[in-house]
């Protein structure tokens, strides 16, 4: 007898992977906790997290949008302004340090620095430069918008049942003295790169783990019952400043993030890891879920990931209760039509006729 004798098939590569159609590979995740449709789910992190939020919402789960778009903003423009992308308008949060930083600013005594970047007379927020296409009109506006997002973070964290965070990168750019981390390298989208003030930091395992623990502590201080689900983005680095080949840099970065997620999932009963990273990047899948640029994940890949997510939840906890049909939100065009109709009811039409008649009667 050996310890391997009684293990299930899923423990062995040949029957669980090599001899299967990749799309039939299953049981990759044994979730620690049930995620019910009524649970309020917050999503944040690297760009892959946005797919998770959308998929949850599409399946009738309660994805929490703590900073919703104004209803009159055209649907096509919401994504451009990062409404509905994550649960709040931080844009991508690539690193655990950045997550802890946002939570510190939202809940701590330290206000965020008033650093802002200028470009062509517009103002960009260095911590979320993509949320306002073309930049803010004034510094005051940029700071007011950031304050609204911090408020949304507070709402999201305190109201959520589940916090889904996708770890994206280890490489980062920070202020040399303060250690404040920027969302992207200064000077790439806006601002100016100054070697004296800006430094490259490729965060190692200890730093990434430590800052994720800081983030978890902050989350639980303000919501002790919050459950956390970690994923690792399967999207490779666009560029590396590490001096190594971008392929190697990607492997390093993702390995660190994966190890941190694994460590936390092992040590913390309130933290789980969902293997979307393995589903997209694993060798059995032969890169089939990547677009031609070998970076972007195809919708089919996202679909397969989310199918696995729900299948594994159902396998462990049973099928979820049938979703109550959620009323489809009124579209902007529908609302406009309704308002027009209300304004154009019979009585109003009569008033219009009377007005014209009274004014133009010969």
């Amino acid at each position: 007898m050996t310890p391997y004798d009684d293990l299930p098939q899923s423990s062995f590569w040949r029957p669980a992977v090599a001899e299967r159609d990749p799309l039939q590979i299953e049981g990759l995740w044994t979730p620690k906790f049930r995620i019910a449709r009524r649970d309020r789910i917050v999503t944040a992190g690297s760009c892959f997290a946005q797919h998770i939020g959308r998929a949850l919402a599409a399946r009738g789960y309660h994805w929490l949008d703590a900073e919703p778009a104004p209803s009159r903003l055209a649907e096509a423009l919401r994504g451009q302004f990062h409404y509905g992308t994550f649960s709040f308008r931080t844009g991508n949060i690539y690193t655990t340090n950045m997550l802890a930083q946002w939570l510190d600013w939202a809940f701590g005594d330290t206000p965020p620095p008033e650093d802002l970047w200028d470009k062509d007379g517009r103002v960009f927020d260095p911590f979320r430069p993509a949320v306002e296409p073309g930049g803010f009109v004034t510094r005051e506006e940029a700071l007011a918008s950031r304050a609204a997002t911090l408020s949304a973070i507070r709402r999201a964290v305190t109201q959520a049942d589940v916090f889904v965070f996708t770890l994206g990168l280890t490489e980062s750019w920070q202020h040399s003295r303060s250690g404040v981390e920027y969302a992207i390298c200064p000077g790439t989208v806006a601002g100016k790169f100054r070697p004296r003030y800006h430094r490259f930091v490729n965060q190692g395992y200890d730093a990434v783990l430590s800052r994720m623990r800081d983030a978890l502590a902050l989350l639980r201080t303000h919501n002790p019952r919050l459950r956390v689900l970690l994923t690792v983005s399967p999207v490779p680095l666009t560029a590396t400043a590490s001096g190594t080949h971008v392929l190697n840099a990607t492997s390093y970065s993702k390995s660190v993030l994966r190890a941190v997620a694994g460590t936390l999932a092992q040590e913390d009963p309130g933290v789980d890891y969902f293997p979307s990273y393995e589903i997209i990047t694993g060798t059995p899948f032969r890169g089939m879920f990547y677009a031609g640029n070998l970076r972007s994940v195809l919708p089919e890949g996202v679909g397969f990931v989310m199918d696995s997510f729900f299948a594994d939840q159902a396998r462990v906890f049973g099928a979820p209760a049938t979703a109550e049909p959620t009323p489809t939100p009124e579209t902007r065009a529908e609302r406009q039509s309704r308002e027009e109709t209300e304004q154009g009811d019979a009585e109003a039409a009569l008033h219009c006729e009377e007005e014209l008649l009274g004014a133009f009667a010969k």
Partner: protein
């Protein structure tokens, strides 16, 4: 550009909101600058029966054409921009009320902050969705006449409460708040070659309502929060005359 002695040929096009302007000009010559004025309009619900054909606005059926012709001195059955130096779109089914209400309400709540960029895009999208605004844009693109646009006025205070459920704090909007929103509307319209005539702020009360003094007759008893009186029309006219002044050649230019 007309000579100093020539009146500016102006058409006021619109829905029932043209009535207040008609009241304002009744028995009054428009001399500063001199204007040769025509109205061309009908009730708003007939606006879906007009369309652009070869650059002109043309009623789709005889009944609608008759309705438009009825308010026009010359019985005009279609509107060609090249026959005027200026065309004012008055009301023309284009309401900005709910946008104002939302922006003014949100301005009172830091958590609901909206950037200039977002507000601008909301205004742009809303205007683009309005068919009559599309007519104005098409006219402006022709370059034949100056196109001005006065959106539907805010509802009269005390009659309508249409915003208050969704945007209760809009009532606390200030003149400065409104001016900032109008500036965005002006910018968006200017990109389309259209000159905005904003609602005169002296007529506004409670954030984005029109003061009762400008209501049409018996508005309260009829429950008509939409239409306004001649006094309101005179305010619009004042803005209109100021906007038209540059169209008139000076004596030096004429010489």
């Amino acid at each position: 550009m007309p000579l100093p002695s020539d009146p500016i040929r102006l058409c006021i096009f619109g829905d029932s909101h043209i009535a207040c302007l008609r009241h304002a000009v009744k028995g009054r010559a428009l001399t500063d600058p001199p204007v040769d004025l025509e109205f061309w309009g009908t009730v708003g619900h007939r606006f879906h029966k007009i369309s652009l054909q070869d650059g002109a606005l043309v009623p789709d059926d005889e009944t609608t054409a008759d309705r438009f012709a009825a308010v026009n001195l010359h019985g005009r059955r279609r509107l060609r921009p090249e026959e005027f130096e200026a065309i004012l779109f008055m009301g023309a089914r284009t309401r900005l009320n709910m946008l104002f209400a939302e922006f003014l309400h949100r301005a009172r709540h830091p958590d609901l902050f909206l950037s200039t960029g977002v507000r601008r895009e909301m205004i742009r999208a809303h205007l683009t969705d309005q068919r009559p605004y599309g007519f104005a844009r098409a006219f402006a693109a022709q370059g034949a006449a100056q196109i001005l646009f006065a959106p539907v006025s805010f509802p009269t205070e005390g009659i309508s409460t249409e915003y208050l459920d969704s945007f209760p704090d809009a009532v606390h909007g200030t003149a400065a708040d409104r001016a900032a929103i109008w500036a965005l509307v002006r910018e968006v319209m200017a990109e389309d070659g259209i000159t905005l005539l904003p609602q005169a702020d002296r007529s506004v009360t409670l954030g984005c309502f029109t003061a009762a003094a400008y209501a049409t007759r018996h508005a309260a008893t009829r429950g008509d929060s939409t239409h306004k009186n001649g006094a309101y029309g005179r305010l619009v006219l004042r803005g209109l005359m100021q906007a038209l002044a540059p169209l008139r050649k000076t004596d030096e230019q004429a010489a």
